[in-house]
Amino acid sequence: MSNKISTAQVKHIAALANIPITESEEAQLAAAFSETLATVSELMSVKVEGVEPTHQVTGLQNVWREDEVDQKSMLTQEEALANAKNTHQGYFVVERIIDES
């Protein structure tokens, strides 16, 4: 497994991650990635056969709530919109997405 990341891979990841990057950033990021991957690749030397992954350390199960409306936590329309730069008649606004018919 190679630890070297190409700028093409960086471009692809940036698109997946929805992060705008410039061409100069591409090279920097590729180098930073490679450095990080080199460091963490030591993990491959650890024996993990038969070991289950731990996704949560709490050991909790079945944490849920009753189906009740929690009016107190709901935001008013004003509160919901208060921090948005672009709103219109109670809606958030974005540039038209082209794929919808």
């Binding site: 929805n18 705008p20 990635f33 993990l43 992954p53 350390v57 709490t58």
Partner: protein, 461 residues
Amino acid sequence: MSQAKLTLKQALAGLEAGEFSLSEIYKDVNKAVQTDNSQLNIYLTLNEKAEVEAANLGNLPLKGLPIAVKDNFLTKNLRTTAASTVLDEFVPPFESTATAKLKAAGGVVLGKTNLDAWAHGSSTETSQYGRTLNPRHPDYLPGGSSGGSAAAVAADFCIAALGTETAGSIRQPAAWCGVVGLKPTYGRVSRYGIVPMASSTDSPGTLTKTVEDSAILLNYLAGHDKKDSTTGPQPVPDFTQALNTDISGLKIGYLYHDLEGLEIVNPVIEEQLKVLEKLGVKVEKASAMDPKHAISVYTIVQRGEVSSNLARFDGIRYGNDRSFFGDEAKRRIMLGTYTLSKGYADQYYNTAQKVRTLFLQDFERLFATYDVLISATSPNYAKKIGATEGTAMFGELEDMLLEPSSISGLPGINIPCYHDQKTNLFLGMNIVGPMWEEARVIAVAAAFEKNTPWNSWRNAS
């Protein structure tokens, strides 16, 4: 003496006894902030209404004392940025559970402290609002990511402070600033309303002048929250009961005693452990899983969770768009995306979670023998400004000694254990206990604090 230098305990006792008034405390604290904040860059936002809020509180346990809060806790109607220009103008319409509990107990948010942007780092140098300087010596960094809160305590810019730790972000800046930093068990304090970093390890906690102060605060912050499905149902004991526990007979495992790179700090730790031995504690060198594996586990898991947690910042409903992210955030988001992606998730993310299990098992083994585990908090004194530039993984490498306990969800405390008179800088000792055993950790820390000269604010006995 400036009333800003009071500990939480002293302030509460003094107010109760009528020795001074709350407004005198605010006057002294505000004076310190006015004078030095522009240089030290500790507060990003000050709460103009703090004193008014304090005056209108009524009779509550924390009596309106000014508390500094790391700027990743959402405070209702008070600007919250996570030290990133993405949230430059963000004013939350709701309160985090932790600050709501603080306020319900009578604490007042004096201001929001600087941090590494998004809590990504161990120095505050990734803050998009400039770094914070270490009040002990302004050529040096305060550590991070809760660097602002640690510095606020060290500079007496507050009576106490709140911070968060994902892997070292409370204990390490506490060590570098010479203050007490308590990281509770994961799930002990609610994460609701805190800008998430690594959801599976984020632990809100305290930065304080003394161990007693951290116990007092934890009493109010801790507890199950139905808004946070990862908080435990464990009842909250009175943590101040642990302050006077007799610790003789406890067994302490001294970790990382033979690790490369700890040549400056380990001799100090070993010397200071003798203090505990004099108190009747048994100290033994113990071997643990190599913490460099924890760096890898933490790096992969954290960056994966970060890449997902920061996906909501698209500038549509609040904040600025994703072009405002700083370099460190971009790096972490992208690396996290990569290690979760098709073809790579198995070798990176899934493997990391398996090695995490190994760490949990390792601690289980250690706690079968030892009551608490002790190590140095940081491999070095606070570093000089600019030290972190050019390293892609500064934070993770710096926090190596703390990552094993963080990824395992264990409670830990940093207690100052040495003061260098020349530089005015400190070293810290990290005390770790089993899950839910903050009391034990507090007991050992309190005993150490009482029997050593390293605390800058000796409680009047």
